[in-house]
Amino acid sequence: MKKRIPQVITLITVLAWFVGIPLAGAQGGDISFTATVDRTTISTDDQLTLTLTLQGPVQNVPEPRLSSMDGFEVYSSSRSQNISIINNQISTSVGFTYIMRPTKAGQFTIGPAEVTIAGQTYTTDPITIDVVQGQLPTPTPAVLSPTAPDGAQQAAPPPASMDSQTLFARTQTDKSEAYLGEQVTLSFQFYQGKDLFGADLNYSPPETVGFWSEDLPPDQRYYQQVGQRRYLVQELRTALFPTALGEQTIGPARLEVRDFFNRIPLQSDPITLKVKPLPEEGKPAEFGGAVGRYEVQATVDKNETAVNDPVTLSVTVRGFGNISSLPAPVWPELENVRTYDGETQTNVATANYTVQGERRFDRLIVPKQPGELVIPPIRYAYFDPETQRYQIAETAVMHVSVIPGTTQEPTGITLPSDRQNLSIVGYDIRHIKPAPSALSSQGMPLYRSTPFWITWVLPPLLIGCALALQHSRRRLRDDIAYARSRRSRKAAHSRLRRANKLLHNGETDAFYAEVSHALRHYLGDKLNVAAAGLTLYDIRRALETRGASEELVAQVAGCCAAGDMGRFAPGAGTSEDMARLLAATENAIAQLEGIRWNGK
C-alpha cells in the first residue's frame, strides 16, 4: 500500500517536537496491558486472532509471555507500534497480534499474558474460548477486554453475501452526519480472500471535495471471517473534516490489484454524508470556527522589558480537532503598545486515530511607555460536537513591567517576516538546447576505425626496437669481442679509403702498409686476437675451420702475401698492381662478412 509516507512524516514531526520540548513530562504513568480476541466462539477449522496491547509511556517493550495456550497452535505473530505525544507526554502503544488455530474442540483458556517493564509485571485477564466441532453458521465478533485497544475498534463486518468474491474493497465512515469541522473517520478496507503472491496494489484515495483530510496511520491488517470465507483485511484510515455544508459525497476509493497477467480494478461505493451547520444559539463573540475540544495557555518570553524592546506573547491551543486550520485567537486591545503578528507553529499527531496536537500563535508587543503592562485573559471559543455546545477556554492574566528604554526612537527593529518556503507550483521538462553553429554527428564509433587501431600496434613495435637497440648498446660496451667484431668492417673500410688516397698521391710504402693493416686488423677484430700476431698459417686455419671456400682462403692469402711483398720489397708493383690489390682486398673483406665468425 502506498501510504507509508504520511507515517514517516508523522514520525519526523513527533521527533522534531520531541527535540523541541524539554523532557519535563514524567516518565512514570499509567501502563495498561490488555488482551482481545476477534471472537469467543470458533470452530475447529477456523482461526483466532489474539491481540495484546500495551499502552503507556514506555520506550522499549519486550515480547510478552503467554502462559497457557492449551488447545491452540500459534502459527503467526506480528508486532506493531504507535508512538504519540499528547500534552508533552510520550505514549507508546504496542500491539502483538497472534494468529492461532484450535487443535481440538472444547473450552480453553488463553492467558493470562505477562509482560515485565522496569521490574514491574503487568498481566491481562485470561480469556475463555469455546471451540466447537465443524463449521459455525455465523461468526460473532466480540471484544472481550474491558478497555478497547486504543480506539481501534474493528469496523462492522460486511454482509455475508460478499463472500462470493475473493477480493473486494469498501469504505465506511464512523458517522453519517457531522457538524462543520467535526472529525469523521473514513476507513477503507481491502478484503483479500486468497493469497496475491506479491501482486502490485495501486491505491487511489477517494475524492474528498468539501473536506480537509488528514491521514491516520498506522494501517491495520487483520483477519476477518465473512460467511464461509476468511479474509485478510487491510485497513487505511483517513480523518475528514467537513468544510462545506449540506449533503457531501465522498467519492469511491479505487484499488487496482495487478500482477503481470491480470488487472483487477476494485472500487468502493461512494458515501454521502450530511454536514450540519454549527448552531447559532449561544455562539460567543470570540468564536472563530474552532471545532473540537481544546485548552489554551498563554506565555510571555520575559516578564521585564524596556521601552521599544519587543515581548513575544504566545498563545498555545491544544486538544483534539482539526489543528492545522485552527483560527488565531482574538487578541486583546492593549494601550500604549504597537503589536505585530508573529509566527504560527503547528504540531499535529494522530494517536488513537484521532487528529490532535497543538497550535501556537505568537504576537509581538512593543511597549511605547514605561510602566506596568497588563495582558488580560485571552478567551478562545470552540464548539464541542460531543456536547453540542460552545465552550470558552481562558488564559491567565499576565504582567510585564516596562522600564524606560535607552533609545527613545524605535530604530530598526527587526521583526520576523512571514517567510514562506519556496513552493513548487508545477513540474515540467527542461528547455530545449540552442542550435550549434555546425551540427555534426557525435556518434561515429571510433572502435570500428582501422587507422585508429593501427596506432595501437605502434607502441609494442617501438618498445621492441628500443629494447633491441639498448641490448646492442650494452653488448658493445660489455663484450669486447662483439664490439671488435661489430666495428671491424667500418675500420677496414676507412683504412681502405685512406689507402686509395695514398695510391693517388703515389705514396707506395704507406699504401701497402695501409692495405695490409686493413685486412689483418679486420681479421684480428673478427677473431678477437692481436692483428700483429696473426701469421698467414693462422689466417688460413681460422678461415678453413669457419667454413670459408677455398677460393676465398686463397684470395685472402694472396692479398696478405701481396701486401707484405709490397711493404718489404719496395718498387715491386706498378700502380695497376696496387689498384688491383686494393680491389681484391675490398672484395675479400666483403666476402668475409658472410662468414659466421662466432660459430666454430
Binding site: R430, H431, I432, K433, A435, A438, L439, S441, G443, L462
Partner: protein, 262 residues
C-alpha cells in the same frame, strides 16, 4: 636535367587533385553541418512558438539524414514530450543520453519522462557499490573511454621507453608504470563492457500499447501488454517480430512496428 623536370610535371597537379579529393568530403561535410544547424535553429523557433509538430518535422529531417547528435535528439525528445508522445520522447532522450552521458538536462528530462510512464517496471535494486562503479563507468561515452584508454596506453609506452633508455629514471618510472598500468586495466575493462553493450540492442515501445506474445505471431498466447515508453532488451528477431526481454525473466515476442530500437 631538363628531361627530368619534364617527367615530373604531373607531381604538383596530382598533389593538388589528391588534396582536393581527400579534403572535399570534409569541406562538404562542414557545409552540410552548417546547413543542418540552420534547420535545427528553425526547429527551435517553431518549438518556442508552440508549434511542436513543425519542430518535430524539422528535427526529424536532420535525424533521418543520418546525423547523430545529442543536442538534436534532446530537442526532438522535448518536442515529442510536449506533443504527448511519451514513447518517442523517451526513445530520443535515451539516444541523447548515450551521446551526452554527463548532460544534466538530458538526465533530468529522461527521468521526468520515465516518471510519466503508465507501467511501473520495478528494476531490482543494486547495492550501493555496484551503483557507484556503474556511475563512474557511465560517465563517459564509448569513444571517450576509447580515447582515454588510448592516452593511457601511450603514456605507458612513453614511460616504458624512459625506463629503457634513462637508467636513473627507472625507479620512478616503475611506480608510474604500476599506477598507469592499473588505470589501463580498469579502462580496458570499462571499454570491453562498453563495446559489449554497444552490441546489445535495446528498444522503446513507441506505440500506445505493445502486446508481448509467447511466440512470433499473434496466434501465440498473449502474455502481457505494456504501454508506450517501456524499455526492452532486444535478444533476437524474426520477420516482423522482436524477441524482447523486460527486466528479469519477463520475455516474449513483440511486433516490430510497436517498438523502436534505441
Amino acid at each position: 636535367m631538363e628531361r627530368k623536370i619534364r617527367k615530373l610535371w604531373w607531381v604538383p597537379i596530382v598533389t593538388v587533385c589528391a588534396a582536393v579529393i581527400l579534403l572535399s568530403p570534409l569541406l562538404i561535410a562542414q557545409a552540410q553541418s552548417e546547413a543542418w544547424a540552420a534547420v535545427m535553429a528553425q526547429g527551435n523557433q517553431q518549438y518556442e512558438a508552440g508549434d511542436y509538430a513543425g519542430a518535430i518535422a524539422k528535427y526529424r529531417m536532420i535525424v533521418d539524414s543520418g546525423v547523430e547528435n545529442g543536442q538534436l535528439d534532446y530537442n526532438l525528445g522535448n518536442a515529442y514530450f510536449k506533443s504527448g508522445e511519451l514513447g518517442e520522447a523517451i526513445l530520443h532522450y535515451e539516444r541523447a543520453h548515450q551521446l551526452l552521458p554527463r548532460d544534466k538536462d538530458v538526465t533530468a528530462n529522461l527521468q521526468f519522462a520515465r516518471s510519466q510512464l503508465i507501467d511501473q517496471v520495478d528494476l531490482p535494486e543494486e547495492p550501493a557499490i555496484v551503483r557507484w562503479v556503474e556511475g563512474i563507468h557511465n560517465l563517459a561515452t564509448l569513444n571517450e573511454t576509447l580515447w582515454w584508454t588510448w592516452a593511457i596506453y601511450w603514456i605507458l609506452t612513453a614511460l616504458a621507453l624512459l625506463a629503457i633508455f634513462v637508467r636513473r629514471a627507472r625507479h620512478g618510472a616503475a611506480y608510474a608504470l604500476a599506477v598507469f598500468g592499473a588505470l589501463f586495466v580498469l579502462s580496458l575493462v570499462s571499454l570491453g563492457v562498453k563495446i559489449h553493450h554497444a552490441g546489445m540492442v535495446q528498444a522503446i515501445v513507441t506505440a500506445a500499447e505493445a502486446n508481448v506474445y509467447s511466440g512470433p505471431g499473434e496466434d501465440y498466447l498473449l502474455q502481457f501488454t505494456v504501454h508506450e515508453g517501456v524499455k526492452f532488451d532486444v535478444e533476437g528477431e524474426r520477420q516482423g517480430w522482436y524477441r524482447v526481454r523486460l527486466s528479469g525473466d519477463l520475455e516474449g515476442w513483440a511486433p516490430k512496428d510497436t517498438l523502436e530500437v534505441i
